[in-house]
Amino acid sequence: MENFSIGVREVELLALGAAFLGTGGGGDPLVGKLMLRRYMEGKGSIEIVDGSSGKDEFVLGSAMMGAPIVMIEKVPGGGEAVKALKVYSQIAGRKVDFITPLEIGGINSIIPLIVSIQTGIPVLDGDGMGRAFPELQMTTFYADGIPVSPVVVFDERGNVSVVQGVDGYWSEKIARVITVRYGGSAYIALHGMELSEYSRSAVLGSLSTAIQVGERLASKNIDSLRDLLHCVHLFKGKVIEVYRRVERGFSKGYVVLEGADQWKGKTMRVDFQNEFLIAKEGDKIVATVPDLISFVDAYTLTPVTTDRVRYGQRLVVLGTPSHPKLRSTEMLKYVSPRAFGYDVNFTPLGAS
């Protein structure tokens, strides 16, 4: 891998690829994209740096936390994530050399780039999930023993909270409550670490992969997408049922598809909790989290999010094997179907 820089076109592709890797969740990247395009005007490009080697440079994670639907109404002031980073830097007494996305799926692939274009700090080509997950402790960084805290939580008014949880779960729980009190969305800086730790722990290359995914979706080339991600064509069909409810702040439910083409006469049910988590063809489980289950429109290949799935859509369901790091015993404690409350074991793609 090597360093490269990205412009407006790549941002567009990244947003598209991030929507696919967001596996139905992760939030609409439109607001982030509009902000980023505006900040990029006249400034040119953003530097993306290979994070696979290094030692004592300091890396910091940057993200938005909370409800994407709040973010599309209470649009950010623009400087929140940068201010969170500065406060973190002060507390830690370290200059921030690189920024990393925590997750590459959805809106949080874009936030670090907004910070980068405003500060000039380069972004590392990697993240802690290789996809999107709903909670802070669901990262490879945390599974590798790198503490989540301190978490600096910032809002557009300038309110700042510093969370020092005893572990990842507490950091998540407390930061979540603060975010709600801020009005449902906040901007966070967290997971400070040495570049040497990052190189060992991150899902490396995920940012450039997301751009390539976007490129292949944009050119409507499903075969080349399959070659890139080694993904499995799980199903093609029409949505015949969508069930949703809210439970503990998460949108839970399932989608049932009726098969077309080679799946004619078969049905698939996909359960979701913000993201698509478990895919069953008939009674047989064919894919589960942490492997990626993505829905794309059968004609346009546009990724379809859990909140936009509706009766009558024609969709293709693609399963992408997760990064080997996500399949480790330690990581599965946080991201297996059981971690999401399902009485189901992780079934690696292709193993059933």
Binding site: L30, L34, P76, G77, G78, R157, K238, R245, V246, G249
Partner: protein
């Protein structure tokens, strides 16, 4: 009572007169570049065929005025924009990525402190001083002001107060407050609010000219209604306030018309016009709406529009190696082969193959120039195009009923793969205009609630009441209002069972 329906299509403007559901008269004229002229011509011609014009109780119009004005940036208001929400929102200022042809009409765009959270509490107090300054800057210089505050759909207090301040400072311009336009998503709602203000003068002119015309023709008791995006009507007065709700009116009319002409509640509607076949879905008597955000003239808005697949295949579609997408449009009857012209069109092919006659065309002119096997080959390709479009819009694997409407619907074959049957109602060529006369008044309100803070019952009741109030403003008869749809969508990552609640109501016209 007589009702007059008028529909502006891309090539033709139709007008019909109905008494107790029976067609009295119909007129078809060319759509003019400024659609008002065509509308006036159609109503004028129609009026001469109506005996007692005093009996005309309502005139219903589906028109592209709003869309045309936005696309051509003509006749727009000098607009000022006020966004309430700082310190939030500065990341994306008003008019971000708008085309210059529209921003040229903006006199001032200002962001001030204020706005609300999803809970309804203030982000920060409203900066009244900044609004006073804004008012003094724009007074006397603008036709309209678009005011948008963050989460105003939850709490409109800051928008209302801002309107009051503008009034106190002598700003006499027309105002649009975003909470009345509705919908979540600040940028999309603000865009819609600004567009609403910009096209407002176009509708003021249209409504006053139509009223004048109705008076001059002796339709002294007729009320004016205009078709909205969601397949309902609103009064002329309401449309002057909220013209943005009408930009997709004609498209909805054809789907409503198909329902009203056949009595069928669920079907796929194929509206074959001069340049396109618009394929939409009739769901429980109304157009199925698209879930994707809608762009109007390149600007992202928050309207739910009818889910339409526009296939570039209509009566005037030009046939050479390919079928379309160009069309001769309203010049069909001079350029088409069957009419003595030199351009082979989809109408010529259909006439040659089916042996039908459209208007005063001469089929022998077509068969003389083209072998029937060639025409058959083209027609088979046209059938495949229609079948593919039908398949795209169907909602289940089972065959569906298809309702064929529009001036070109006679071109359709008797059977299509995927269609259980094809119903072509009488007067199908006037479905849109007839549809307009038979439809209802409606209103849609979308809000967010936390069911742990507000009981579900209270939330639904208050939203239903708000929608009913709006429907009455739009010209509905209060005693006939009915709930058409209640939709609840959970909002993830928020506590307390937060939902987005959408309520649609419909009722009879107050005539």
């Amino acid at each position: 009572m007589i009702k007059v329906g008028v529909d502006v299509g891309s090539t033709h403007t139709d007008a019909v007169a109905l008494a107790e559901g029976e067609l009295l008269a119909s007129v078809k004229v060319r759509t003019t570049p400024d659609p008002t002229a065509g509308i006036q011509e159609a109503i004028g011609k129609l009026s001469s065929r109506i005996g007692n014009r005093d009996e005309v109780g309502a005139l219903m119009l589906g028109t592209t005025h709003g869309l045309n004005a936005i696309l051509q940036a003509k006749g727009l208001a000098r607009t000022a924009i006020l966004r309430i929400g700082l310190p939030a929102g500065e990341g994306i200022p008003p008019l971000t990525e708008w085309p210059a042809r529209l921003t040229d009409h903006v006199i001032s765009a200002k962001m001030v402190r204020g706005g609300h959270e999803y809970t309804g509490e203030e982000i920060v107090p409203l900066d009244e001083g900044a609004i006073v300054k804004f008012a003094d800057d724009i007074v006397g210089k603008v036709d309209g002001v678009a005011i948008t505050s963050i989460f105003s759909t939850v709490n409109p207090a800051h928008e209302l107060r801002a309107a009051q301040i503008l009034n106190e400072r002598g700003v006499r311009a027309h105002l649009t407050l975003s909470h009345m336009v509705g919908g979540l998503g600040l940028i999309e709602r603000e865009n819609s609010t600004i567009l609403n203000e910009m096209v407002s003068p176009v509708f003021k002119r249209l409504v006053s000219r139509l009223k004048e015309l109705m008076r001059s023709l002796g339709m002294n008791h007729a009320k004016l209604f205009i078709a909205q995006n969601d397949g309902t009507l609103a009064s002329g007065e309401f449309t002057m306030e909220y013209p943005i709700f009408t930009v997709a009116g004609p498209v909805s009319n054809s789907i409503r018309g198909a329902h009203l002409l056949t009595g069928i509640d669920n079907a796929v509607v194929m509206d074959v016009g001069g340049t396109t076949t618009n394929v939409g879905v009739l769901h429980n008597g109304y157009p199925r709406e698209s879930s994707a955000p809608v762009e109007i003239g390149g600007i992202r808005t928050n309207f739910r529009m009818p889910d339409i697949h526009a296939l570039a295949l209509g009566g005037g579609t030009i046939i050479n190696e390919s079928i379309g997408p160009e069309s001769v449009g309203y010049e069909l009857t001079s350029k088409g082969v069957g009419w003595g012209g030199t351009v082979l069109t989809a109408s010529d092919v259909a006439m040659g193959v089916k042996g039908i006659k459209i208007g005063d065309a001469d089929i022998s002119k077509i068969l003389l120039r083209y072998p029937s096997s060639y025409l058959r080959g083209i027609y088979d390709r046209m059938i495949s195009m229609w079948e593919e479009a039908l398949d795209l819009m169907k909602i289940s694997r089972e065959d569906v009923q298809v309702i064929a409407v529009g001036g070109g619907s006679i071109m359709l074959p008797p059977e299509l793969r995927g269609a259980s049957k094809i119903v072509r109602p009488d007067n199908a060529q006037f479905a849109n205009a007839i549809g307009a006369t038979l439809t209802k008044v409606g209103a849609t309100v979308e809000k967010t609630f936390s069911y742990s803070a507000t009981s579900r019952e209270l939330a639904i009741n208050s939203t239903v009441n708000e929608a009913k109030e709006m429907a009455v403003k739009a010209g509905g008869d209060p005693s006939t209002l009915d709930i058409r749809e209640i939709e609840e969508v959970p909002i993830p990552y928020l506590p307390g069972d937060s939902v987005k609640l959408t309520v649609k109501v419909v009722g009879n016209l107050r005539i």
